[in-house]
Symmetry: C2
Subunit: 233 residues, 2 copies
DNA sequence: TGCATATTTCTTGTCGACAAATTAAATACA
DNA sequence: TGTATTTAATTTGTCGACAAGAAATATGCA
């Protein structure tokens, strides 16, 4: 497993941290590194064929985004998904859906919508193919593109963080995405995009709110189902 | 100037980065390090009496919060205050004022209000003493305490970031705070706290919104005055 | 055997040094 | 004198090594 380490000498100076950061980030979000997994610096330095210094820098960045937890002088591990404060997450997610969509209707430029439409087409393909993992990631990319058209970096960065955490959460339950609901999401996306294009801020906000609440209520149903399973075991 | 470096040997392992991070952060927010200031790693390592490694880690964290900008292989410097996208900042600030106050009215516990009242008293003292710098920092602390009573870490962390950036911004114009307006802020704070205690979410949200818009419009007036000055020079 | 203490092992935090990238200075040339 | 190319100096990115803390293991003692 030295496919990454073998790049040792062809790496450009300064690119190491980004590579490590991106790969670890994806592995955490895809649950390849499940919550609670220990993060060993020397192990990572062997795997990526570089010293501990750049590894460490990547870990500091991940810790800054709350993806890993570091206990001083002790182990560092992938952060837990907090099921207790889930309502905080849903509150923030719904609000960001609303406000970013509203701002997109207000401030977008025509060329922004091209990228959005491309991603919407990819999302529709993923739904058609019943590829739940692709649905999750293209959905996040789509809404992030809408947020960027709203041109408020504060909202966009918070929204991005929330969508990433959601990616981790949804991956736990992606099996149940194989029903008829996603098709409704495709239609809702189309409506939202149309409202943005028409610069109808009120409608865009309302549709985004309903869309977000749909998603949240579905996740909550999944969580409750899971809880019942826990009890019955 | 080796008052910091002289602590070399009494420092506990692992505390170095936090010290450097905290000090640099304050110096940036207080404009002792104005936007655009170059950050030299070896200079800092001499000043703090430690190697470049912990300095570097502190800088990575500061970069993660957008307080410094790092160009690869080149200099790193204190990030600029972005006057062009100011409306994004105000939009986000007002929304966070509203939502955190609303959630505080909903979820606060009685003991939360003790800390809030203490900070409100400190704010009133600062206004009475016409200490603009203290007003800025106690005001931020007060609203952050309210946000924490709302118990949504996503909103609280974004709000904290916004208040910090505001601290930097306001410090540019704090002279003009020596007028009668701050007294009105004291009264508005009292009303907001009362609404929170009464768990009147709608009122709390409305008051917070008006309060935030007051502040924003005052800052905007200051900015416009400054622009006129720029033109006349 | 059961518990407290000492020792070893393992992981993290820090260090000084080196090498690559960039910038500044110096030299060559028209 | 002005511009292009080389050379030196500065600064960042990376490395290997060492030391401090904490955890695991071993030892001493009742």
């Amino acid at each position: 497993m030295d496919s990454e380490a073998s790049l040792r000498n062809e790496r450009k100076r300064g690119s190491g941290v980004k590579v490590v950061y991106d790969i670890l980030r994806d592995e955490i979000l895809d649950l390849e590194l499940p919550p609670g997994s220990p993060i060993d610096e020397v192990q990572l330095s062997e795997r990526f064929g570089m010293s501990r210094t750049p590894i460490r820098e990547a870990l500091v960045r991940l810790a800054g985004e709350g993806l890993i937890d570091t206990l001083p002088n002790r182990s560092t591990m992938v952060s837990q998904i907090d099921f207790l404060n889930m309502h905080s997450y849903f509150d923030a997610l719904v609000l960001m859906y609303r406000v970013t969509t509203q701002l997109a209707a207000k401030y977008h430029r025509p060329e922004d919508l091209e990228g959005v439409r491309t991603l919407q087409a990819e999302f529709a393909d993923a739904v058609e193919a019943q590829d739940a993992l692709a649905m999750i990631s293209t959905n996040a990319a789509l809404h992030l593109a809408i947020a960027e058209a709203g041109r408020n970096p504060y909202f966009t960065s918070l929204f991005s963080r929330l969508l990433n955490e959601g990616r981790r959460l949804l991956r736990l339950y992606y099996q149940s995405y194989n029903d008829r609901l996603p098709r409704r999401f495709v239609e809702e996306h189309d409506e939202i995009i149309a409202a943005i294009e028409a610069r109808n801020t009120e409608l865009a906000e309302r549709l985004a709110r309903e869309h977000a609440e749909q998603i949240v209520s579905q996740i909550q149903k999944l969580l409750m189902r899971e809880e019942r399973l826990d009890v019955s075991l």
